[in-house]
Amino acid sequence: MASLKDLRGRINSVKNTRKITQAMKMVAAAKLRRAQAQAEAARPYAERMEAILASLGAAVASTPGAPQMLVGTGEDRVHLLVVVTADRGLAGGFNTNVGRLARARIRALEAEGKVVKVLTVGRKGAAYLRRDFASRIVGEITFMGKKRVEFSDAEAVAVRVTEMLEEGEFDVCSLLYNRFRNVITQIPTDQRLIPAPLPEGQVTAPAAAGPQAQYEYEPAEETILATLLPRNLAIQIYRAVLESTAGFYGSQMTAMDNATRNAGDMINRLTLNYNRTRQANITKELIEIISGAEAV
């Protein structure tokens, strides 16, 4: 049985841990609020962008000279996965969930005989995937040390992807990230970026504009698309990074809340144990004294 001193030491150490997890929970809650506000602020732009892209893309997708970013290379051989995770851990299953999704995707694609390349955004994803798929990783990007992720950071990622597309290094590009549903739920999501997914129905019937007005374009559709598509790519990545950040803090908050509660339980158990041991020691001493006195 552990001595009283040992028990006291353990209780103190768990108490310290609880203080730390509680502080981390508080910090995560504060940062979550900020990250959530940022993610919400970015939403209108992404929504309007989608609307414009839908009307524009439908008109151009069926023409022969449509840009690669919209219709892809016409092949389906090399897949690029952009995996967005956090830079830090201590957030429950947050990073592992995306990592696991990525791993399943890579395995499935390779089983079909496709070539997979991985671009990781965030330190943890890189660390997770390097173990099994080091040879597939073509790049690692982190936003470590940044207070908040700016649009220009996401743009840099998009530029990287665009360059790879222009070099013909992949045919299909998907984005894997944790979608922020609410504070406790983050959904690992697999979203296709290239070829750009167009809303259903419009692809098959581009001429049937119906109630939607026919737009005039200035400059021509192709020129607008040439600037709009890279921008759309950047905004999708930006949104994923923001959602992932918000999700990370949500997940960390939940994880730290659990940790705090568990530490509390543990302290209770240890304290009980400590008191029992103390009581046992006292009883033992009393017995010794009494039996000693009787012997005299």
Partner: protein, 137 residues
């Protein structure tokens, strides 16, 4: 007077969403004044100033660094790469950007694609218009 809904969004936030009488937007092929009932259009923007008219007076001036605008009879949606109210622009920042953009332009060689050259030139022009806008404020 008739109004339409003007929405100005940048990737980082929604800057403006309200009924206005007229908006002047810096379209790539020339300034464009938009009144209610305008024919539907999608245009690209160059760096310049968006002017907003409400109740017969110019109420807002914002610098945009480029982007897109979708015009329809009842609403105008401006997707700006970045947007700053004129009052918040700083000349030093604009000058720094011009220097940066010009350096980037010098690095572009004839071998690069046309798209790349255009983008670099576009950046310089956008930065210069930012300085103009800062001086106008």
């Amino acid at each position: 007077m008739a109004t339409f809904l003007l929405e100005l969004v940048s990737p980082e936030r929604l800057l403006l969403s309200r009924q206005v009488e007229m908006a002047t937007i810096p379209a790539a092929e020339g300034e464009m004044g938009v009144l209610p009932g305008h024919a539907p259009m999608i245009v690209t923007l160059r760096g310049g100033i968006i002017r907003v008219r409400e109740n017969g007076a110019e109420t807002e001036r914002l610098f945009v660094g480029g982007g897109f605008a979708e015009v329809s009879p009842e609403r105008v949606t401006v997707l700006a790469d970045e947007a700053t109210p004129l009052a918040n622009l700083s000349r030093a920042e604009a000058e720094r950007r011009i220097a940066e953009a010009e350096a980037a332009l010098r690095e572009v060689t004839a071998e690069d694609t046309e798209v790349k050259r255009d983008a670099a030139l576009e950046r310089v022009l956008s930065a210069r218009s930012m300085l103009d806008a800062a001086q106008a404020a």
